[in-house]
């Protein structure tokens, strides 16, 4: 997993709420059997029309906006559990998504892929959208160690929450699987001592 420590970048605004994982990566692109190449189909049906022409009104096709931070409306990543959504965002080049809250499964998937789901208050989210609208070249800094999100245009610095274990994983690029494998003895002890009506 790619490590994440600190990032300063411009940001891409997507001020729509409840963006579901079917929009992030439609199901017809889930037939791949590796984790690579999903970025080409990120937001496929918002990005391209029926004839595969880029839709000029979609933000990823607008040269005014670019960057490694996606700023999106509340409840980003709702719907399907497809990790392909996190893979597509990361493969396209995003390293963080900022929203006022994320759907639970997406948030976990993002964290497992070094893509930081950064939660800010609705007010900060609105201010971020306003800043980008007024100055598309505005830069933002995410400092994971300090847990701060800085709007370099306005100078506003806000703290964000992230669970301590996940923070360590992100900073060091650790996977959960390494940790879980290290718990093998405890897992087997649990299996020995439990009441089990599942098999």
């Amino acid at each position: 997993m790619q490590a994440f420590k600190k990032l300063t970048s411009t940001a891409v605004p997507l001020p729509i709420e409840d963006i579901d994982t079917d929009q992030i990566i439609p199901a017809r692109f889930l037939k791949a059997t590796t984790r690579d190449g999903f970025g080409d189909n990120l937001f496929r049906d918002w990005r391209y029309d029926k004839l595969e022409h880029p839709r000029p009104d979609f933000v990823l096709n607008n040269p005014t906006y670019s960057g490694e931070i996606l700023v999106a409306g509340a409840n980003f990543g709702c719907g399907s559990s497809r990790e392909h959504a996190a893979w597509a965002l990361a493969d396209y080049g995003f390293r963080a998504v900022v929203s006022s809250y994320f759907a639970d499964i997406f948030r976990g998937n993002a964290l497992n892929n070094g893509l930081l789901p950064l939660i800010v208050s609705p007010e900060v989210l609105d201010e971020t959208f306003r800043t980008i609208e007024a100055s598309p070249a505005a830069r933002f800094t995410i400092d994971l160690e300090a847990q701060t999100f800085t709007n370099e245009e306005t100078g506003t610095v806000v703290k964000f929450e992230i669970d301590e274990y996940k923070k360590t994983c992100m900073i060091n690029g650790y996977d959960d699987i390494d940790f879980l494998l290290s718990q093998r003895e405890k897992i087997e002890a649990y299996e020995e001592n439990r009441v089990d009506f599942s098999l």
Binding site: K31, D104, E164, Q183, R194
Partner: protein, 462 residues
């Protein structure tokens, strides 16, 4: 004092991790062809085996065609993915109910019908609708592919304990109002993110009065309000459903299991982080007007012009996609397709409901109607009861088991711009195919729409 959720969760905690996470033991892991290939690859790359093969059940459902299931899959990428599931299961020694197997079907239909899903267990699957299995009083939730790999390797996931919510629905449902309407109503009140961070227990007399199929429909859609999962306390209805199924416990083991299961319901003084209460009588037959399951309303209502849940820009975008206008009524609106199927509503009870309504009638000449049973066993039962003939005589197609037109991944898609009344769970943009316009509804409302060729109030027909 503990809730049903607390009891099941706490019984599965292997150890605590500093910072609030817990290592949670997973009793049953369901896998399918779409979200497992990268997990198997991961195991191969790391050189680690599956820890407990007897806790995994595999089937092919998302990609499978629902026609000509005895022939090789025509679409090359789908064929490759399904074949890869077969070779991965062979290599790693996992039981597979693949295409052609009598137990094949939608993963959330086969778990319960085979007696794999039981009260008090933990279950995961790389599919968000794993919440379905909570209907038995299990903790069941969808996971990403990285976690599929973790569970294969360690039989555990790492999670912080979600918050608890109780949704109580008391009273009686009106005739013509089903479990699907109940859950669409709840989601329309809470919004598509209203349950985020929570596990939901559904309680109250209206819930207790539901069959297991109805309870599965409710729990299935928990994820559509953002909840990790939903649960319903196990009771006699639950035990009767499980008894005698293929893999259900027998004899003394059955007695011991039932004794344990009876201890699981939430204590009378259990406390929940969040509570909502609704009245069964208030729930009308529901339809959706927009592009997420929270955009739902009663069949007689008008599309809201303003919403506390959905922002103006989001509503406007939804209306543009759906070709509808805020403030308009949808009852009487002509539609093009009717899809009866999906892990939400493809069990034999759902098919019986729809069949009873279409029996002796013809579907409207403008309607393309397909009925897709959730599993081979559901199909077999439906055929034994003559339901397939009821549907085909009325002008529906009766297909083989699979996810079908729920998700626009296999051959079954709705063309761009067309309206489909669907018993599935998601009306997202493009969910049933690029440009397809989905209206979610119950099997009864879907069947009635097929006959009328338009959206109708099923209460006026029964």
């Amino acid at each position: 004092m503990p809730t049903l959720f607390d009891k099941v969760w706490d019984a599965h905690v292997v150890t605590e991790v500093p910072g609030g996470n817990q290592v949670l033991y997973i009793d049953k892991h369901l896998i399918h062809e779409v979200t497992s290939p990268q997990a198997f690859n991961g195991l191969r790359e790391r050189g680690i085996p599956i820890l407990r093969r007897d806790r995994i059940v595999a089937t092919a459902d998302h990609n499978v065609p629902t026609k000509d299931q005895d022939k090789p899959i025509a679409e090359p990428l789908s064929r490759k993915q399904v074949n890869m599931l077969t070779s991965n299961c062979e290599e790693f020694g996992v039981e597979l109910y693949g295409l052609g197997h009598p137990y094949q079907g939608i993963v959330h239909v086969i778990g319960p019908e085979l007696g794999i899903t039981r009260p008090g267990i933990t279950m995961v699957c790389g599919d968000s609708h794993t919440s379905t299995h909570g209907a038995f009083g299990a903790i069941a939730f969808g996971i990403g592919t990285s976690q599929v790999e973790q569970v294969m390797a360690t039989q555990c996931v790492l999670m912080s304990k979600p918050k608890s919510m109780r949704i109580t629905v008391d009273g009686d449902l009106q005739p013509g109002v089903t479990a699907k309407d109940l859950i669409l109503y709840v989601i329309s009140q809470l919004g598509t993110g209203g349950g985020t961070g929570h596990f939901v227990e559904y309680a109250g007399t209206a819930i207790k009065g539901l069959s297991m199929e109805g309870r599965m429909t409710i729990c299935n859609m928990s994820i559509e309000m953002g909840a990790r999962g939903g649960l319903i306390a196990p009771d006699e209805t639950t035990f009767e459903y499980i008894r005698g199924r293929e893999f259900a416990p027998e004899g003394e083991e059955w007695e011991a299991a039932v004794e344990y299961w009876r201890t699981l319901p939430s204590d009378p003084d259990a406390r929940f982080d969040t509570e909502y209460t609704f009245r069964g009588e208030d729930i009308p037959p529901m339809i959706t007007y927009g592009t997420n399951p929270g955009m739902g309303m009663g069949i007689k209502e008008t599309i809201p012009t303003k919403s506390e849940i959905h922002g103006d820009a989001t509503l406007k975008k939804a209306m543009e996609y759906m070709g509808l206008e805020l403030g308009n009524q949808m009852e009487g609106m002509p539609i093009d397709y009717v899809f009866i199927g999906s892990c939400t509503n493809s069990r034999v009870e759902d098919l019986r409901l729809a069949a009873a309504l279409v029996k002796g009638k013809q579907i409207h000449e403008n309607i393309t109607g397909i009925v897709v049973p959730g599993s081979q066993q559901v199909a077999k039962q439906a055929i034994a009861e003559g339901l397939d003939r009821v549907f085909t005589d009325a002008g529906f197609e009766f297909r083989g088991a699979g996810c079908s037109a729920c998700l626009g991944m296999n051959e079954d898609k709705i063309p761009a711009g067309r309206y489909c009344v669907s018993t599935s769970n998601r009306n997202f943009e493009g969910r049933q195919g690029p440009g397809a316009r989905t209206i979610l509804a119950s099997p009864l409302t879907a069947a009635a729409a097929a006959v009328a060729g338009k959206l109708v109030d099923v209460r006026e027909l029964i």
